[in-house]
């Protein structure tokens, strides 16, 4: 169902919030206020410097009723999936303090907080270990007129519980804006593998906010295969001692694609470990942005944090902006970071060709190997194979590579 009226994103903010529990109305009010003060990002907004959204900000969108992703896998025993709207109406106290992004949301996240109508709450109770992944798919809007949706997901994984979540975003209609927000709350010793696939992402702004309890483990694997305009943030707060996160990502873009990945890991507690490994292949006239931050708070001693972004540029017209950085306030830490932008290794290419592999096939093999090593870190095998398949379907000579692997 589409509402007839079309408004810019900021115009669509209501003057007051009259429904829902008090805390939600207050939360939406704060988000709305922040937006009225800050506006949406401009070229001068540091975190959006390389990703201009002026055209998005100026567009009049109709509000699409697509805030609830569809569950496309079986629901494993012990896991509950409920509509956020339904819980907010019947048991709002269950969600209090869990939809607030740990403070003051800004920009698109604030917009989602102010305007989402529904969404999913995935809850894995204490001690529940789920082997089969849960997969949710975000709806592809049908309208050809500009439309906007605000998908919202809350994932809570209780103490010593385990979950694999796959989120699929697809749809190449570049006039449809998806502004999604996923919050993840991991209890003590909880484990989660979170795979997010953007396939032909049209117009996408997305953010994942993770809060981790003591000794919890979180792995994010972001696979971006094309995107007209995609901005995706993963933010991990390591709040409990001994928590670990691995934020992995691959992007494979071409043509006029523009994809921007931001990561932020905040080490708030001691003895935590984090890794960020993003790799991208940029062809055509495409632009890739990577901005990764590690913050180590003063009390987060014995922190280990690593960060790496490697890019292969396969065309003279392609652009990469990469900025990994560390902000360290503790003294007993092991941290590393690095970024590279380059072309394929000539020695490797020659080796393959000297054995008889045609040049374009050799290029494809090296390209695939570069990205596959990241996807290979997904431990759930069927998911890993699916991600490989997604890469192969996009890489030139994918069929032939499939034939020899």
């Amino acid at each position: 169902m589409t509402e007839a009226s079309r408004q810019t994103l900021l115009e669509s903010l209501p003057s007051s919030f009259d429904t829902g529990p008090d805390w939600l109305r207050a939360l939406r009010g704060r988000a709305s206020e922040a937006l009225r003060e800050q506006g949406l990002p401009t070229k001068r907004t540091e975190a959006w410097r390389f990703t201009p959204v002026r055209s998005v900000v100026d567009t009049e969108f109709s509000r699409e009723d697509k805030d609830v992703p569809a569950l496309v896998s079986e629901l494993p025993a012990g896991v509950s999936i409920r509509s956020l709207k339904e819980v907010l109406e019947t048991q709002p106290q269950l969600l209090e303090g869990r939809l607030d992004l740990g403070g003051a949301p800004s920009h698109f996240a604030a917009l989602n907080t102010a305007l989402f109508r529904d969404g999913l709450w995935i809850d894995v109770p204490k001690g529940t270990v789920v082997q089969a992944p849960i997969e949710i798919a975000h709806a592809v809007p049908s309208s050809s007129a500009p439309g906007v949706a605000y998908p919202r997901v809350l994932v809570t994984v209780g103490e010593s519980a385990e979950l694999t979540l796959i989120e699929a975003y697809s749809g190449d209609e570049s006039r449809q804006l998806s502004n999604s927000l996923v919050e993840v709350d991991l209890g003590r010793d909880a484990k989660m593998s979170h795979v997010r696939v953007h396939e032909n992402a049209g117009l996408q702004v997305g953010r994942v906010d993770v809060r981790q309890g003591p000794d919890s483990r979180y792995r994010s694997t972001v696979v971006t295969l094309g995107g007209a305009l995609l901005r995706f943030d993963v933010r991990c707060l390591l709040q409990g001692k001994g928590a670990e996160c691995e934020l992995d990502g691959v992007y494979l873009i071409d043509g006029d694609d523009h994809v921007d990945h931001h990561t932020l890991v905040e080490h708030q507690a001691p003895n935590c470990r984090s890794g960020q490994t993003y790799r991208g292949i940029v062809s055509g006239k495409a632009t890739a942005v990577f901005d990764g931050v590690v913050m180590v708070h003063r009390d987060a001693q014995k922190t280990e944090a690593h960060q790496e972004n490697r890019n292969l540029l396969l065309s003279d017209m392609a652009t990469v902006h990469t900025k990994p950085h560390l902000e360290i306030d503790a003294d007993d830490v092991i941290c590393s970071h690095g970024a590279t932008v380059g072309s394929l290794d000539e020695d490797q290419l020659f080796y393959l060709r000297a054995r008889g592999v045609p040049e374009d096939f050799a290029l494809a093999m090296l390209t695939y190997a570069f990205l596959e090593s990241i996807v290979d870190r997904v431990s759930h095998e069927p998911t890993r194979l699916r991600m490989r398949e997604a890469l192969l379907s996009r890489i030139p000579h994918g069929d032939e590579i499939r034939g020899v692997t």
């Binding site: 080796y351 393959l352 000297a354 054995r355 093999m365 090296l366 190997a369 090593s373 020899v404």
Partner: protein, 250 residues
């Protein structure tokens, strides 16, 4: 099979090869010996078609064709094989899968059907045994984490798989202890055949005790200064390159 005539090659504008003449018949093994910096590896790379080597004069004819005009993969398809001095590691590309791609590309060029997975694995097991390359290594990423000896055995394993007409082996002995050297040499010897020629490039005579050449060339400062039989290699070992060079200038 291979005829090199008055070959001059520059790298970054600097002359490295200064008029090489060499003729290699099918069934023959020739050794090219020379000190460091004499142009041995340049000769190997030029024959395999690596970028960055500018031929300023001369010609290389292989099976009646102009070898220098051919892309590296076409040379391989036509039966030229280079055993690298320093085989590069390629993380993420499995040895066996890459070799299957290479072999099938070569078969396609010859108008043959690709080998199916089962036949390929059979062939690979047989050839790996030739150089005592463990099965596990054939499946790992190309040369990734291989020891020096394993890399060289992997080169000869690949040569055995691809069955070239002309094998150029660039310092296959470097970095090998005597046991590994014997294994590699035995592998090479088992591949000697009436329709196959080999150009064995080495600094030391030691390798030629195991791979006995028909002809030995001494390459110094970009030129072949002496050509002889296997006794020339022994003479070099005793007298050193400077003696041979000085003698050649008489």
């Amino acid at each position: 099979m291979l005829k090199i005539e008055d070959l001059h090659v520059e790298v970054d504008g600097k002359p490295i090869l200064k008029g090489i003449n060499l003729e290699l018949e099918a069934g023959q093994v020739h050794a090219v010996m020379g000190p460091n910096g004499s142009g041995k590896s340049t000769l190997a790379y030029v024959l395999a078609g690596r970028d960055g080597y500018e031929v300023t004069k001369g010609s290389v004819t292989y099976k009646g064709q102009d070898l220098l005009e051919m892309a590296p993969e076409l040379r391989a398809a036509e039966g030229v094989f280079l055993g690298f001095q320093y085989p590069v590691a390629i993380p993420g590309v499995s040895n066996i899968y890459f070799l299957k791609a290479a072999l099938n590309a070569i078969r396609k060029h010859r108008g043959e059907d690709p080998l199916d997975a089962i036949d390929f694995m059979k062939l690979s097991k047989k050839k790996a045994a030739l150089v005592q390359l463990p099965d596990e290594l054939t499946k790992r990423s190309v040369n990734d984490g291989f020891s020096g000896g394993e890399k060289k055995r992997n080169e000869i394993f690949q040569m055995a798989m691809l069955e070239p007409s002309l094998a150029v082996l660039d310092e296959t002995d470097s970095g090998l202890d005597i046991d590994a050297l014997k294994v590699v040499a035995e592998g090479v010897n088992s591949l000697r055949a009436p329709d196959r020629a080999m150009l064995v490039i080495t600094h030391y005579q030691r390798l030629l005790d195991y791979i006995v050449p028909d002809v030995v060339h001494v390459l110094i400062n970009g030129q072949i200064v002496r050509t002889g039989d296997k006794e020339l290699a022994k003479q070099l070992e005793l007298e050193g390159y400077s003696e041979v060079r000085d003698a050649s200038q008489l």
